[in-house]
């Protein structure tokens, strides 16, 4: 993977190739796979993402702990009240995937299971309202993967290392880049969308109640997806950010390294350590996920 967003863009511009083609060529060179194999695998990945959303929106899946289930459906049925349909659908779809994840359903950890709701929600939504066909969505996945690879190299993707900003923050930055690409944004706008998105996720702690990938994770995925489309909207309108994407990524890494352990997936601080959370975790898991198909 590339070491900087700038390197990705420079390589694309110097060789006259599109951003997804640069990411694809790099992956082929590293893995020895041919381009069509990689694209086919991404199509399969996209299909898993779409199925998880569909399953979650049925509202029938519940996690073994009972902490999550049915909420994506409730939002889908009761919204939008104040937002536009696209935003409400993005929120519901992000929650849907995370509810399937909590019920031991099949998901794509892009980049992690705890942040698995963000990118699918954005891709399915943008695919709909931008009328993007499957190949365009595969290209968008490549752009997202390129951005995620840079963040993995420069900072971290792990909540245990860098807090929630490293998980949902990275997923959001990937999603922002993907939707900016789909909407026809320039390379510069894609880079700006990453910076604009990630600056708003900086410092977000990982404080899962009971140590489970459930609460606040389902809601953090929803808000991260919204942050991503907001950043894309701003970047596409020509708004920029004075600190380049790579430097914002470095800041995310720095904040993660300085984050106290209580806020890095240990369930020792934040929401996980509140009286309400402590009462909740008295509930023992029932042992079986419910309502999940397959």
């Amino acid at each position: 993977m590339h070491r900087s967003i700038q390197a990705l863009i420079t390589e694309a511009e110097e060789s006259g190739r599109r951003l997804p083609d640069v990411v694809l060529a790099f992956e082929c060179a590293e893995s020895g796979a041919d381009p069509e194999e990689v694209r086919a695998r991404i199509r399969k990945t996209l299909a898993v993402m779409e199925e998880a959303i569909e399953e979650g929106l049925k509202g029938e899946v519940f996690s073994p702990s009972g902490l999550t289930g049915g909420r994506a459906r409730r939002l889908w049925e009761n919204g939008p009240r104040i937002l536009g349909e696209r935003v409400t659908a993005t929120l519901a779809r992000a929650i849907a995937t995370l509810e399937v994840n909590a019920a031991m359903g099949l998901i794509v950890a892009a980049p992690t299971a705890g942040a698995a709701g963000v990118l699918p929600s954005i891709l399915v939504n943008a695919g709909e309202f931008l009328d993007a066909d499957e190949e365009a969505r595969v290209d968008a996945m490549l752009v997202a993967g390129g951005v995620g690879g840079v963040i993995a190299h420069r900072a971290s993707l792990s909540g245990a290392e860098g807090g929630c900003q490293a998980e949902t923050g990275t997923a959001a930055a990937m999603g922002a880049a993907a939707v900016t690409w789909l909407a026809g944004g320039s390379n510069e706008q894609i880079s700006n969308s990453v910076a604009l998105c990630l600056q708003g996720m900086l410092g977000l702690i990982c404080d899962p109640i009971g140590g489970l990938v459930e609460i606040p994770c389902i809601y953090r995925n929803a808000s991260a997806a919204m942050q991503a489309i907001a950043a894309a909207e701003m970047a596409l309108a020509g708004l920029d950010f004075p600190v380049p994407a790579d430097e914002v990524i470095d800041v995310m890494g720095e904040v993660g390294r300085k984050m106290p352990a209580a806020y890095r997936e240990t369930a020792m601080g934040g929401l996980a350590a509140t009286p309400a959370a402590r009462r909740l975790v008295q509930i023992r898991p029932t042992g079986e996920p419910r309502g999940i198909s397959g």
């Binding site: 702990s65 794509v108 245990a160 140590g211």
Partner: protein, 221 residues
């Protein structure tokens, strides 16, 4: 090395890439080191695996991995029933291995027939795993390659003999590591290859008089 599909994946049964997919993969790797599906397994969980494993399906994922289920196999949800059907007897223990141990450390004691192996490893994040110890010998196995682990009495020519044998069987080496306990003592070789390592190559290596033991560890998904 991070691949595109480490970022856009893995595709997995939830809820946690480290505590579910990684746990399954670690068990798959332990099974690969044993070389077959175990009949009996004693599994010791430390740290975060011990503390939050229940809510993450960690034990199910481990039982599933031990009988060969992949991290994206929906049967992981009913892995206890699958494990019983496969004839596996297992017991879990929780322990504290101290501050130094990775929070997701697991120790496997696996038995099949006369074969027994003890494997220590950890799920290190994002579904990636690392086995650090096999039967008391320090190793570094991630399951990403077809791997040979062998212990040789340290004398001149052992490395050349092993690499020549592999090359005679058209095996292309990705990496090779040699750790020696001391001059003219034992040397542990860890060899990662792109292709599957054929049984004939292993038989040929077994015939060398200086070989103490050898294990083939096939790549896990």
């Amino acid at each position: 090395m991070v691949s595109l599909f480490d970022i856009l994946g893995p595709t997995m049964v939830g809820p946690s890439s480290s505590h579910t997919a990684g746990a399954c993969r670690l068990a798959l790797l332990a099974r690969a080191i044993l070389g077959q599906t175990p009949e009996r397994a004693r599994i010791v969980l430390h740290g975060s695996f011990a503390a939050t494993g229940e809510g993450h399906g960690t034990e199910r994922a481990i039982v599933g991995g031990l009988i060969g289920l992949q991290p994206d196999d929906l049967r992981l949800r009913h892995a206890f029933a699958e494990g019983e059907a496969a004839g596996l007897e297992w017991e879990f223990e929780r322990t504290d291995l101290g501050e130094e141990a990775h929070p997701n450390t697991t120790i496997f004691e696996l038995t099949a027939g006369d074969e027994t192996v003890t494997v220590r490893g950890a799920s290190v994040g994002g579904g990636r795993v690392e086995v650090s110890d096999v039967d008391g010998f320090a190793v570094a196995l991630g399951g990403d390659y077809n791997t040979l682990v062998l212990m040789a009495h340290d004398e001149p020519g052992t490395i050349a003999a092993v690499t020549r044998t592999l090359s005679d069987h058209d095996v292309n080496l990705a990496t090779m590591r040699v750790d020696r306990t001391g001059r003219h003592k034992d040397a542990l070789m860890t060899i990662e290859a792109d292709q599957a390592i054929p049984e004939e190559a292993i038989e040929a290596i077994k015939s060398f008089p200086w070989l103490r033991w050898i294990r083939r560890v096939d790549r896990v998904s």
